[in-house]
Symmetry: C2
DNA sequence: TGCAGCATGTAATTTGTTACATGATTAA
DNA sequence: TTAATCATGTAACAAATTACATGCTGCA
């Protein structure tokens, strides 16, 4: 399993950084597929330092809190490559949105539309965010970074298109069901009949 | 936040079921966006029963373990509708795959191709699984169920297409970088230069 | 003979999230 | 003067995963 600790090590292999810096990396680069907060990052860095995979230098600054700058050690670099090479990487969706849509017929239409619109807005925001990141880093980004950004944009676009193309499936059939009163009949005792 | 407990309540609002039955529902219907195991489902059912949102009948069976059949109560039905109506549903991807691809340049090409092929195989399996579910339930499925299944299939298809169309981006540029030896130069001290 | 399916549950562990705790500087 | 940015960390909490524990039936 890939955890925040390993990803911190990976990000440090691109260059030195503080926990604060890494948080920003997580927010911009990994935002849509691997978020992490300070509560994960700081303990991760402490663990990496304990294991000798990173070194740490405290840098005092004038007028602001001191920074703890971490650098990957040769052993850390090896450990990271080994970690991502052994892994069978997972790709998991966790969607309350889809779970709720599964029960669309139990919601009133106003609420249903609000959720669909909210989801579309979020997906469009995701695409815009990714475009901004791409524009910022431009052609100097590593190929992996561009692949990942493109993937995210493609997924969000496809999701938005699917919702726009199929939302009527939820609201139109809903009306048909309500007219014929088939909802209650369909819901009651489905399992009993199947298993009798 | 939507949890396994609430989803159990939702599934029970479609008809009575045992914990064992619900596990199967999670495996087939919610497999690709909200998986749950016995370790989540059984405690969830116990909790729902404690709160009076479901009732439970123990049914002895000949030659096999007894079943505990749960049914939603009127209060449970209300509670579920209230729960999904209050929610701002999330839609989160958690992808080790993308995280690893971000560091594609640190992997050897053999390993990289193995991961990409593995991911493609998994996506195709997902599409097939969804098609099988759709075929099984057919036109009698609730509109929400069809919307959700279609969504999953569309996402998996889009992901597979993206990978097939862009994988060369990872391997082709990789060779260019290795030839010019720019990898080490690009990796070292990126941050230092930016902040100097 | 051995494995898959039926059926329930608990306990330990892992992981991450959220809230707490502190405090200076700078721009609006 | 108010909020945001910089900067680090701990502790409590929530949630789900995994392993453990048990045992019968039916098929290959």
């Amino acid at each position: 399993m890939l955890d925040v600790k390993t990803l911190c090590l990976g990000l440090l292999s691109r260059g030195e950084a503080s926990g604060y810096d890494l948080k920003k990396d997580f927010e911009s680069l990994f935002r849509h597929f691997f978020p992490a907060g300070y509560g994960s990052i700081y303990p991760a860095l402490a663990g990496l330092a304990d294991e000798g995979l990173v070194s740490c230098t405290t840098v005092p600054q004038s007028g602001r809190p001191e920074r703890k700058v971490y650098r990957v050690t040769p052993r850390g670099r090896e450990a990271f490559v080994a970690a991502i090479s052994q892994l069978t990487p997972q790709h998991k969706l966790r969607s309350e949105f889809l779970a709720v849509m599964y029960f669309a017929d139990l919601m009133d239409e106003e609420r249903l539309n609000a959720i669909l619109d909210g989801q579309l807005a979020q997906l469009h925001a995701t695409v815009e965010h990714i475009r901004a990141i791409e524009a910022e880093h431009g052609a100097d980004a590593a190929p992996g970074a561009r692949f990942v950004a493109g993937f995210g944009a493609a997924m969000a676009t496809a999701a938005a298109e699917y919702i726009e193309a199929n939302r009527r499936l939820l609201t139109r059939e809903r009306k048909a069901r309500q007219r014929s009163g088939s909802r209650a009949a369909a819901g009651r005792g489905r399992r009993i009949e199947e298993r009798a």
